[in-house]
Symmetry: C2
Subunit: 256 residues, 2 copies
C-alpha cells in the first residue's frame, strides 16, 4: 500500500493507524475515505502568537530587530528556514552555530509560556470524531518533539504511544518541503494523494501541494483567508470545530 517504502524500517509502525480507528489500510486509499495529516501549532493548539513573540524576543536578544508581523508571516516553516528567511530580510548573516543558538533561545523562551497555551476549539473533538469514523490521522509538525510534547499532552495524545506523530527530528527538511506530510502518510500506510493536509499557515499549504495532498486551511493561526486561498487552500475554515462541522465537504461521510 505505501508508495515507495523509502524507509522500510518504519513498516514496524504500521499498526499505529489501528489506534486511530482505521479498520483497514486499504479503506484509507479509497476515494470515500481520506486520511488527515494535521499541522500542530495554530491548527490544533492556540500557540502561534506565543511562538511569534518568543521568536521576537530571541531575535532581539541576538541583536536582530524585526517587526512582529514579519515573524508571524514566517511561522510554520522549519525553525532553520524561518531564521534564514528573516535574517535575509534584515541583511544579517549568521553562522550555522548562531542559527542553532537562536533556535535554542526561542525554544527556551517559548517553553516558559507553554503553560498558557490552550487547545483550539474543537481540536480534541475533531480527532475523536475521526477516530470513531475510522478515518486515519496523523500529526506532522515543523517543531521538534521536545517542543511539541506539551501541545500533544494538551490534546491527550501520547507521543510515545501508537499515534503517528512526525516531528522535525524525523525528516531531513521541514515545511514548506513536503517531507513531513509524506512521512506522515507513509506511517499511516495511506497514499499521499488520498490525504487531506490541515494547516493554518501558507507553508502548510505549499508543502501540501508539493506533496500532492489536498490542503485545507484554518484561520486559527491568524493568517487572512485570502493568503491561504492563494497558497492553494481547497477550503478555509475558522478552526477545528468549524472543520468538524463541515467534514462532509472534505470527503468524510457521517458515521452511520
Amino acid at each position: 500500500m505505501s508508495p515507495g517504502d523509502r524507509q522500510p524500517a518504519r513498516r514496524e509502525s504500521e499498526p499505529e493507524w489501528e489506534a486511530h480507528g482505521s479498520s483497514a489500510p486499504q479503506r484509507a486509499t479509497s476515494a470515500g475515505h481520506p486520511a488527515f495529516l494535521f499541522d500542530l501549532d495554530g491548527t490544533l493548539v492556540d500557540s502561534v502568537y506565543h511562538h511569534v513573540l518568543a521568536w521576537r524576543d530571541a531575535l532581539e536578544d541576538a541583536g536582530v530587530r524585526l517587526a512582529v508581523w514579519r515573524i508571524h508571516r514566517r511561522i510554520g516553516m522549519s525553525g532553520g528556514l524561518l531564521v534564514n528567511a528573516l535574517l535575509r530580510e534584515t541583511g544579517h548573516r549568521f553562522t550555522a552555530e548562531e542559527v542553532e543558538r537562536l533556535q535554542r533561545a526561542h525554544a527556551a523562551i517559548y517553553a516558559r509560556q507553554a503553560g498558557d497555551v490552550r487547545p483550539l476549539p474543537g481540536a480534541r473533538d475533531l480527532l475523536a470524531h475521526l477516530t470513531d469514523a475510522g478515518v486515519p490521522w496523523a500529526i506532522a509538525t515543523s517543531g521538534k518533539l521536545e517542543s511539541a510534547r506539551p501541545a500533544l499532552d494538551m490534546l491527550g495524545i501520547d507521543p510515545a504511544g501508537p499515534g503517528a506523530i512526525v516531528t522535525r527530528d524525523l525528516v531531513q527538511h521541514a515545511k514548506p518541503d513536503p517531507d513531513l506530510f509524506l512521512a506522515a502518510a507513509e506511517r499511516l500506510g495511506v497514499r499521499i494523494e488520498a490525504a487531506v493536509v490541515v494547516g493554518d499557515s501558507v507553508w502548510d499549504l505549499l508543502a501540501a501541494r508539493r506533496a500532492r495532498a489536498l490542503g485545507v486551511a484554518l484561520l486559527s493561526g491568524g493568517y487572512g483567508q485570502d493568503e491561504l486561498e492563494r497558497a492553494g487552500a481547497y477550503r478555509v475554515y475558522q478552526d477545528p470545530a468549524d472543520l468538524l462541522f463541515h467534514l462532509d465537504e472534505v470527503g468524510v461521510r457521517a458515521i452511520g
Copy 2:
C-alpha cells in the same frame, strides 16, 4: 477653514499644526496637500501582538476562553466594543462594570510588557518627513491617553506638547465610529475630505470611510492585504517605511 467648527473651544489649539510644519491651514485643504491622521498601535508602534495576548490573559482571568486569532481580528476597535463583540461571540454576558474591570485588567497586563514594544520601521522618519514637507499630521487612537503615552514617548511625541493627539478620552465613540478621525482633522484645521487616514486594522478603514477620508492601510498590524482592501483601503503598504517610500502615491510631492 475648519468646517463646522463644532467645538469652538478647540480653536485655541489651532497653532498645533504649526508645530507639525504646516505653513498655512489653507494649504492642507488644497488637493495637492493632504493631511495625515495616523492610528497608533500597529501603525506607528509594534504593539498589536502584545495587546492581543494581554487581552487573551485578561479575558481568561475573567473566565472567558477565546482563541487568540479572534482577539487579533478585533484589535483596533474601542476597548468597550472589542469586549462586547468578543463576549457576544462566546455567549457571555457582562455588566458594564465587569466590562470596565476587564479593560482595566488588559491595561495593567499590557503595561507590564510595554517596555518590550518598539516603534515600527520608518515611523519616526515618516513623521519627520511630513513635518519637513509642511504636511499637517495628527494621531488618533482608540486607546486612552494613559496607555498611549509610552508609545508616544517612544516616537518622541510629547502628548502635552503642541501636536494633535486625539485619544479615546476625548471623543464619545472610538473606531469603527468616525469620531476620532473627525476630531483629529478638526484639531488640525483641515477638511476631513482632504485627509488620509493611515491604519493597520479593518476598523481604521471602516472609520475612515464613515468619516469620508481616504484610508491607507499598513500590513504591520498582522492583518492580510485582502482583508484591508475589502475594508476599503485605497493602498496597502508594508509599514511606515514603505509608506514613506511611496508617499507620492497618496498625494505628497517630493520636498524641494
